[in-house]
Symmetry: C2
């Protein structure tokens, strides 16, 4: 099998799942989106679960590329401002090239409630997010505790959900209208800017 | 049309969407889940969008019932401990009777990305959540700012997502293994217990 064609089909499957939802993810739709002869996707990914798996794998690859900056210990943000730029970039990416991937990811999440093998793949991505975001908060010099770091990561995950849903009243209520202001406000809530000397709470 | 039967079909539709996903939500499956003659669901809800709408409406009703305690200004938690119990209850409910409703809700969220009329319904629920949770934090006597309150609500929404996905490594990384400890840790991160006298940051 041709690896280039395999990737082309994988990207098409991500696009179909994001745009047409779980109901729309069929071999025929993937063939059409990839512009290949009918039957091609079925050759590479014989079952619907195989299609879902390739979407999950493409999401993992794209996630790794998108978060390479967060994940690399030597390339973390140098200070609070660097962390703001990093998190803001993750959120604004959702309005741009990251939107399809995250919509596909949300569809995978719902399917994962019924498919343990898929849940296992997503468990790895989400765990990496908590670890990478905590590392980034430490690199930025903030007085990190496990609770504070997890609180920030969870709030960002909640923000992603609402940014994808794009409900105007919800975005206003969550303070998500302006991602830059949002990220600064979130960090201020957990790491008050005036409290550089605030003693870290003991983790339990 | 019989309102009781209509509700029975609505509850069956919630169950089908939660258990079988968007692909499984068909009139036939709803008839089977409700134990009514084939064709009944189609009579009450002629299109698939009408089925989705009834799921959303049942979710709104159940949401209102579940959060009546949070939403009622006169019945908010009296103190920090009351707030812990309240938020903990919302999270532990996900492992019990609330699981089906929240799985259905997550499916609705993904469909909402493609259906503005559905997004509009969900926008109302999510907005009510931010308002109700902020009110509860104020009632508990915490030094609330808009940013802190939204941060807590977003982190709880992120927690719901991960509790539904139920990935063991993610739950450990997020500190979600023990909901009581999690809620206390989240509140400590945003409202340090030792800092009752901490001056509220000016909202912007």
């Amino acid at each position: 099998m041709n690896p280039e064609r395999r990737n082309l089909l994988g990207d098409a499957a991500v696009e179909v799942l994001a745009e047409a939802g779980g109901r729309g993810l069929t071999h025929r739709a993937v063939d059409a989106a990839a512009g290949v002869p009918l039957g091609t996707a079925k050759n590479y990914f014989p079952t619907r679960d195989a299609l879902l798996r390739t979407v999950a794998e493409r999401c993992v690859e794209q996630y790794r590329a998108a978060t390479a900056q967060v994940a690399a210990p030597e390339a973390g943000p140098a200070d609070r401002e660097g962390l703001v730029l990093l998190f803001r970039g993750l959120l604004t990416n959702l309005a741009g090239p990251g939107r399809l991937r995250m919509l596909a990811y949300l569809e995978l999440q719902t399917e994962a409630a019924r498919k343990p093998w898929l849940s296992e793949i997503l468990d790895g991505i989400a765990t990496a997010d908590f670890e990478g975001f905590e590392r980034a908060q430490r690199a930025a010099g903030l007085p990190v505790t496990a609770q504070r770091a997890a609180g920030v990561t969870l709030a960002l995950h909640g923000a992603v959900l609402h940014l994808l849903a794009d409900g105007p009243r919800t975005l206003a209520a969550a303070g998500l209208g302006d991602p830059d202001r949002f990220v600064r406000g979130l960090l201020d809530a957990v790491y008050p800017a005036s409290a550089g000397s605030r003693p870290p709470v003991v983790d339990d």
